[in-house]
């Protein structure tokens, strides 16, 4: 309680909790004096940051106390909706607002639950899973997306890391890696998951001597500190990676044969039709036993040695090649000379990188850690948003990942490490416990995933029922169709009942986070009733009918901010399970999103389904399992989650005091690959099968699908920007995530705004100095950037030698115009306004949106 007017004694407390200024969710401790938060620091007791905190985390106090937050439920009075149109908000009571919302949602549910569309955010998403999914599931709607999340981020990278590393993402094994090759990624440089801890680990690795080579159109966060920056033409990463694989396999003759034979499907026999040759009785894929001279099931215990990577031309009377042979032959078409013409990287550089990578991997070497002899592969290829955010998203990631697989640098010391895909649990309880397992084909299925649809095996394509066509595109985690210009046409084509009638938004600003605002606005205007739960009024809430004021992360309780495969540091050290807890009580009219969802669930009559969902989400078992017929408080549910995992002695009260529990990691959890009998696919037979199953469904509805993207081995395919032949548009516009900001969410934070204002790149357009000279553009000029579709943005130019001559880089996601965000308003450049949102600009397999665009740039005075 505040003790205004009293000088002593003052309350002086440090509250252990978790940040949520971005998706990293680092551990923090919050200093509170007399009920007022005065400082936020990293929690030195937690391995999730070890006391480090970035500028965003330290600035959270300004979000908590922002005078522009929405503090009352409001209902729209102006029926007209549009960009910049004032909704005419009227303040109402919570009772009135919730009754209004519940009545509307009940009617939608009675008519057709599919007509409710849920939109979440990935920016600060930890409570989303419990609150949003807990409501979505029993409501009965499958229509959910993460606003721009996925489309701009991990539709490709997370998917491929899930298939190949059983994890959401991967990083170098910093303590042992000697050569890290980054493609469009800045991991370890205040960016990406586990930003603070990875920054220290990357710095230590560099001090130890790890070489860092960054392939990127722009020399920014990682490349600016790297040993070598390799400028690349935007969107051509797969061409480089495939040519490097070619050099390794066909010029150097270098690969890790034991790894490929034991831990991948490289030895699987493949028929001329592209499918596995299978054992007639068991249906299992066959491999070639070179010693016995016969084909055997891949897991036959009678096999005399590792299965062969090469096979005779004919096996059991069928013409065959192994997956490895097919890969080796496939990449011969990707010569360094070919790749150079596409990437603009010199041929000798491509060969040198391949040689350096292959040599650094030390194929065949071992290392002893804690008395265990393990493969030692101190080289890795890491990819993220920059490489994967293109129309060739799936193949881009697959191609780069092949570098790790060919040299066996996957989840072993020194290689590419998934974020904790193996957990044998706390020594007292054995929880949390998750381990990858094998499917009937011997391929790896993740032990843990952030959602029900696993990356592998993908579900079989079926006739679409969802807004995003997820049934037809099983590898699409998100889809532009939720806000695209062609959504009506596509939904009509499949006879679907959309547009939706109602939308529930949690914390997302899709008007700015997907693509051009006009297209998103049109999609929102079709929805009759929109509810948003948020801490601010912004460009999105201008389209809402009701806004409910949310608590921020310093005002709410969450039992599990750091899922192991998402935001927990990889590598040896300690496990930690922190909580997030209120550092202060929320202002009277702010309510936690989760509790609001539970209240709405009661009013709509779906509490039983929500309770069962919570049981499934948290794996609750007797005696902590929720009774579907009992109404619980959120505190009670959190208490059960914590006791279930760590025993009755570590209940919510214990966690409130201690903040987290931690325990040592095991070597076979961190470097798990040699210990588990699972294989990963270097030949994606399943993709071919998926395409063959999807094709007749698409054909039935007259829907065109590009089946060339459903081949088992990757290629480089151009983006629409590469195919534009109009020479007036001579630059590739792209955006990158500024480490000073967390997407559009933090732009309103005054401290971060001040820092961004001091940074010459945060709020400007970066152009190559030589390119600018040819165009008569000078540093500081106001320039216009225009796409061939006539979309235009404007901003101050910053000239640099640290950007590819054909590139034009913008830090996203600035350029707010909401009158309710006075700090953010008018700052920086809204790059996304250049992006088309339609299937033409989406990967034909995972529907990732292509976020590069061919543009022309000129001084605005012209």
């Amino acid at each position: 309680m505040r003790t205004a007017g009293k000088s002593t004694p003052k309350e002086d407390a440090w509250i252990p909790s978790s940040c949520s200024m971005c998706y990293c969710q680092c551990s923090i401790r919050v200093h509170r004096i007399d009920g007022v938060v005065v400082k936020i620091e990293g929690n030195p007791d937690s391995p999730i940051g070890e006391g480090r905190l970035c500028s965003k985390g330290a600035s959270g106090i300004m979000t908590l106390y922002d005078p522009n937050r929405v503090n009352n439920p409001v209902i729209r009075t102006n029926p007209e909706k549009g960009i910049g149109v004032d909704p005419g908000w009227k303040e109402v009571s919570w009772d009135e607002a919730l009754q209004y919302v519940a009545e509307k949602l009940k009617k939608v549910r009675e008519k057709d639950p599919r007509l409710l569309f849920f939109q979440g955010t990935t920016t600060c998403s930890s409570s989303l899973s419990a609150g949003m999914w807990g409501f979505v599931s029993p409501f009965g709607s499958p229509n959910f997306w993460s606003s721009g999340g996925g489309l701009h981020c991990g539709n490709g990278a997370h998917l491929i890391n899930g298939i190949m590393h059983a994890s959401w993402s991967a990083v170098p094994d910093f303590p042992y890696c000697n050569y890290a090759l980054y493609f469009g990624s800045s991991k370890g440089h205040s960016a990406g998951h586990v930003a603070t801890q990875n920054a220290q680990m990357a710095a230590d690795a560099r001090a130890r001597g790890m070489k860092l080579v960054v392939v990127d159109p722009m020399c920014n966060f990682a490349s600016g500190k790297a040993n070598e920056w390799v400028p690349i033409r935007v969107g051509t990463d797969a061409a480089l990676a495939l040519s490097m694989v070619n050099v390794l396999l066909n010029e150097k003759g270098l690969w890790d044969a034991p790894y490929l034979a034991k831990h991948t499907n490289a030895p699987y026999l493949v028929k001329p039709d592209g499918h596995y040759l299978r054992d007639e009785a068991s249906g299992k894929p066959l491999v070639w036993d070179a010693i016995e001279g016969q084909a055997m099931a891949y897991d036959d215990p009678g096999m005399a040695a590792d299965p062969a990577l090469e096979c005779p031309r004919q096996v059991n009377g069928v013409e065959c090649r192994t997956g490895f042979q097919l890969l080796k032959e496939h990449v011969t078409q990707f010569s360094p000379e070919w790749a150079s013409s596409i990437t603009t990287i010199p041929v000798r550089t491509i060969r040198r990188l391949a040689h350096e990578f292959g040599r650094a991997a030390r194929v065949g070497s071992t290392i002893v850690i804690d008395g265990m002899s393990l493969p030692y592969r101190p080289a890795c290829a890491i990819y993220f948003r920059g490489a994967q955010s293109h129309k060739n998203s799936v193949y881009n990631c697959f191609a780069i990942e092949l570098l790790n697989q060919v040299v066996g640098a996957a989840d072993v010391p020194g290689g590419a490490l998934g974020f904790n895909p193996v957990s044998y649990g706390h020594p007292d309880t054995g929880r949390p416990n998750y381990v990858p397992r094998e499917d009937p084909d011997g391929l790896m299925v993740t032990g843990m995933w952030l959602g029900a649809h696993l990356p592998y095996p993908p579900h079989e394509p079926s006739e679409p029922e969802t807004m995003k066509l997820g049934e037809l595109f099983p590898m699409a985690r998100n889809s532009p169709l939720m806000a695209s210009s062609d959504q009506d046409k596509v939904w009509k084509q499949f006879g679907l009942p959309y547009p939706p009638e109602a939308m529930l938004n949690y914390g997302a600003n899709s008007v700015m986070s997907v693509g051009n605002a006009a297209t998103v606005a049109e999609s929102l205007k079709k929805i009759k009733f929109i509810v948003s739960v948020d801490v601010f009024l912004n460009e999105f809430t201008d389209f809402a009918d009701v806004v409910l004021p949310d608590t921020c992360y310093l005002e709410r309780l969450e039992p599990w901010p750091n899922p192991g495969i998402f935001s927990h540091p990889a590598g040896l050290g300690e496990w930690a399970w922190p909580i997030r807890q209120p550092a202060v009580e929320p202002a009277p009219q702010r309510r936690s999103f989760i509790e609001v969802m539970m209240e709405l669930g009661e009013m709509i009559g779906i509490r039983d389904g929500m309770n069962i969902y919570f049981n499934l989400l948290f794996g609750l078992k007797h005696p902590y399992q929720l009774d579907p017929d009992v109404r619980y408080t959120w505190d009670e549910i959190c208490d059960r989650v914590l006791q279930h995992n760590f025993g009755p002695e570590r209940d919510l009260a214990w966690f409130r005091t201690n903040g987290l529990v931690k325990w040592p990691k095991r070597v076979d959890e961190v470097y798990w690959r040699p210990f588990l009998k699972v294989r990963v696919p270097i030949y994606w037979e399943f993709l071919k099968t998926m395409g063959e199953q999807a094709a007749p469904i698409a054909e039935k509805f007259g829907f065109p699908m590009d089946m060339s993207r459903y081949e088992p081995l990757p290629t480089w395919n151009p983006c629409p920007s590469h195919e534009l032949k109009d020479e007036r548009y001579d630059l590739y516009g792209f955006y990158y995530r500024d480490v000073l900001h967390a997407n559009s969410f933090t732009m309103e934070n005054p401290w971060l705004d001040e820092a961004a204002t001091m940074n010459p790149y945060s709020y400007t357009i970066t152009m190559n100095i030589g390119t600018a000279r040819k165009k008569g553009i000078h540093d500081g000029d106001i320039i216009s950037v225009e796409s061939a579709k006539g979309r235009r943005i404007q901003g101050k130019v910053k000239l640099s030698e640290g950007i590819h001559p054909e590139g034009l880089g913008v830090a996203a996601c600035a350029g707010h115009w909401s009158r309710n965000q006075p700090i953010a308003r008018g700052k920086g450049v809204f790059f996304n306004d250049l992006l088309e949102i339609d299937l033409e600009h989406a990967d034909p397999v995972n529907m990732n949106l292509d976020v590069c665009v061919k543009v022309r740039a000129y001084r605005s005075t012209e």
Partner: protein
Amino acid sequence: MIAVKVRFYGFVRSALREPSAELSVPDGSTVTDLLQALGERYGQKFTEKVLTRQGRLQDYVRVLLGNDLLEDGKLDVALRETAGGTASVVVYLLPAEIGG
């Protein structure tokens, strides 16, 4: 015969309009038998939503017998009546994952 009450949650409404079903199955029936019986009652669309072509649970489907979550591939569990005289089964279709 065993009386069974099945409650459906999640995105099942396109395959069936009712939130629950009550049916009787022969003594000794398993959850696999029950899913087959439900498929016969509700048709191919229900079956395709719940099971793969190989007869395994779709990865987004969870089945509970009483309070116990059944693992995929282990559905040959005998249905058992609870104290109320009815076997209680939940079929839950979970939503897709978040992005990131």
